[in-house]
Symmetry: C4
Subunit: 258 residues, 4 copies
């Protein structure tokens, strides 16, 4: 494989599709949000993208079968008059500067071919979170941006860099005359951040005018908070023990020197 390739799995006509992209990145916010929608809305596989710019390992998937790292396009048919959706999620991002540009380019060409009208990319925004994570928005144009600001997102600070595919897609979308919007959930980014993903989803669903039950995500948030609390207790105990050992050792050493 010398080139990035997209293999279509199903030929399907999509009506005014909106593409929603969430790759692994800061706090895994984009991937968590997109994967959740795919599962919850029972979206179907549309295409797979493979690239020599992805890391050079493979994954063992179910039943011991091996697969290349890839990114997946899914689609969801809207049974009302609204927009169909395309979801884009994946294992990884490209490993080199040039690879990042190439991947974003392939996504945009695929979007263009499918008649995509709007692209929404999702990511994390590193910042101390007060109360609950806000959603920071930026877009290819003010009109697209206003769709996010009207439903609760806040404006991105001037000069803020948006790293990776979530940003490059917007930068390159202008050349294709496709409008694109980036939604970034505030997160410290050290751990997979389900709360940040939820904040983004609430804004996103208002923009695409759809209702999706987020209660499953709430359950996962509860579970992950219990897990983190447990890890913190273990860490605290570890530090207390270490401190006691240190004091004991220092006490001993003083005696010895004196």
């Amino acid at each position: 494989m010398k080139e990035t390739i997209i293999i279509e799995k199903e030929k399907v006509e999509l009506r005014k599709p909106i593409l929603i992209e969430g790759f692994p990145g800061l706090g895994v916010v984009g991937k968590i949000a997109t994967d959740f929608l795919i599962r919850q809305m029972k979206a179907k596989k549309l295409a797979e993208m493979y690239s020599p710019h992805f890391p050079y390992y493979v994954l063992v998937s179910k039943k011991g079968s091996i697969r290349l790292l890839r990114t997946d396009f899914y689609y969801w048919k809207n049974e009302t008059e609204g927009n169909d959706l395309i979801f884009l999620t994946g294992d990884t991002q490209a490993q080199t500067v040039e690879g990042q540009y190439e991947i974003a380019d392939h996504i945009l060409r695929f979007a263009e071919k499918k008649g995509v009208k709007l692209i929404i990319t999702i990511g994390g925004y590193r910042r101390e979170v007060e109360d609950k994570p806000q959603v920071v928005a930026a877009a290819t144009d003010p009109e697209t941006l206003s769709k996010a600001l009207e439903v609760g997102a806040i404006n991105s600070p001037l000069g803020n860099p948006i790293v990776g595919t979530a940003g490059l897609i917007l930068g390159l979308a202008k050349f294709k005359k496709i409008n694109a919007l980036c939604l970034l959930g505030e997160t410290l980014g050290y751990l997979p951040d389900l709360k940040a993903a939820k904040s983004v989803l609430k804004v996103l669903l208002k923009i695409v005018k759809l209702e999706v039950d987020l209660s499953e995500l709430d359950k996962e948030i509860d579970k992950s908070e219990q897990l983190i609390a447990r890890m913190q207790r273990i860490e605290e105990q570890r530090m207390v023990s270490a401190q006691r050992r240190r004091e004991a050792a220092e006490g001993g050493r003083v005696t010895y020197i004196g």
Copy 2:
């Protein structure tokens, strides 16, 4: 040399060949196992592969002659009704992400051209070894995997990454409709691990339904164990001496301070 090239050394018709690949990697398991079979079965040189993605040094080989880093294909003609074998071994792996994909691609195209029916790649699996190393297997498909499981290999954990050529060949094999199997010998991976290679060979030989005398490998295992034991004794003595020097020095210093 701008491109990876494969130079065929002998034109030979092979019957339903199985390709066995073992490149340097974790614990050198793959290369040790493959090189052993090549020597023991007196396989003959089939082709050489050179690539600008290999490291940029050359090796001095016998009689002071210099050669590029390369990978070698060998073949072995089966005198019964069974499969012929192709072996693939080499000095090195590709140095870049894109190079890794390209090398795996060239191997697969060569395999396709030679009518290869099954590819078996060999590598190491980093894990504390209890008693004797187990063989972890993964494959392009459940049917191919079952060939390994039936003769003693165990299933790879879900999500396990397989790094480098041994993995990428499997990932890319699907595009060529070639079945492929990966056998990973459990190893700590710090030293060349002949025992892990032996475990893999026992499973592999059952799969390809061949008998090869492994007693030569047992001798090498004995030698390497004696060597490691000697190195450990030297290391222990070195640490004891260092500890005594430290105590002497601290004793002196205490006197000096006091």
Copy 3:
């Protein structure tokens, strides 16, 4: 985007244009000087250059709009008989060796197409600055160099390396038979160095025989010096406090040990 591209924003005939380049680099001297001229002379956008060799992030610009990293060409029409000017400034430099050569090449081809007669690149020269920063010059040829030496620049030491686009443009200009001159302002390079930029501008304006009011730059220099002085006072206080804390702690420790 697989290739570096230059998108022209306005079709304009330029008379004997001189191209002035200042990218981010040591002490940000080149970018500060070029951006100042663009603002002060009210230069107009001529073209934008995008490249997959630039870093893979985008910037949020005014009103929440996103844009790719890029470099911008501006032009200024000279209302007298003198040369028109083209300015080249940008967000960044290329990220790889090969990218650096490619970017410099694209700039030169664009310059050639626009009939550029002379290129002046601006950068910083790392050196302890005595009194006020001198301007170090080097050129494609002695005649071009003399234009800088005659108006106060000094000769670059033999063997001095000039890193990045400011240097490569000169190296590659010879192949296009374009004369080019590099002006480097002496700077320690740790902070954006407005004084070094001003020194360069004074030399540059004499070479291109233009007068531009630098008093705005003087105001910015005053502001930046006040800022640095304030930062230094804060740093000194911080160090004094730290020293006191250390002494207090050591005092305590001595008592404790004794």
Copy 4:
């Protein structure tokens, strides 16, 4: 510049030329030896090679002129029946794996075009030097190797890696049916090693059956040895002073603690 290019400076017919290559590397042995021959034999410029794989800076050369990093081919016409010589020296080596292969390839294609019969590459061999540096040899074939062994070079250890252009040229020469020889002067490699270069030159001159006065090189060796001796005295004094300061400080501290 997207490709490596070789620009011929003079059209000249060469008789059975031998190419001698010495790039910067371990102990700068290759470059010192080759540059010395070019100066001493008054060789003339034949061609220049430029490449986007060289580092992205330029050098200020005499009279403040700037030039790209490059490698230079020189030629020397033999007034007797013997071989003409081509010398290849340069500022640098390629910066990437793929670049290294490409550069070596371009050199070989140029050598082929010029009818080169033998290539001799020069480098350093990292090893503790006893008495005077020996010359380690390796070659494309035993016959070529014997030319070096017969005049005092010693055989390279089996498996020894030869890194960079000096090695790759030999590895790739086989594909062009050109014989090539590598001469490596023993050196610790920390400083430019003129003695190692002299050892190589003595062997090389016997192989090409030429006499060149090496007394100029002896003078440079004397100068460099004086320089190194002076640096060592300075370093020793510095260490003695540091030791005294440390003792004084510790003495003071002991008093203070006590």
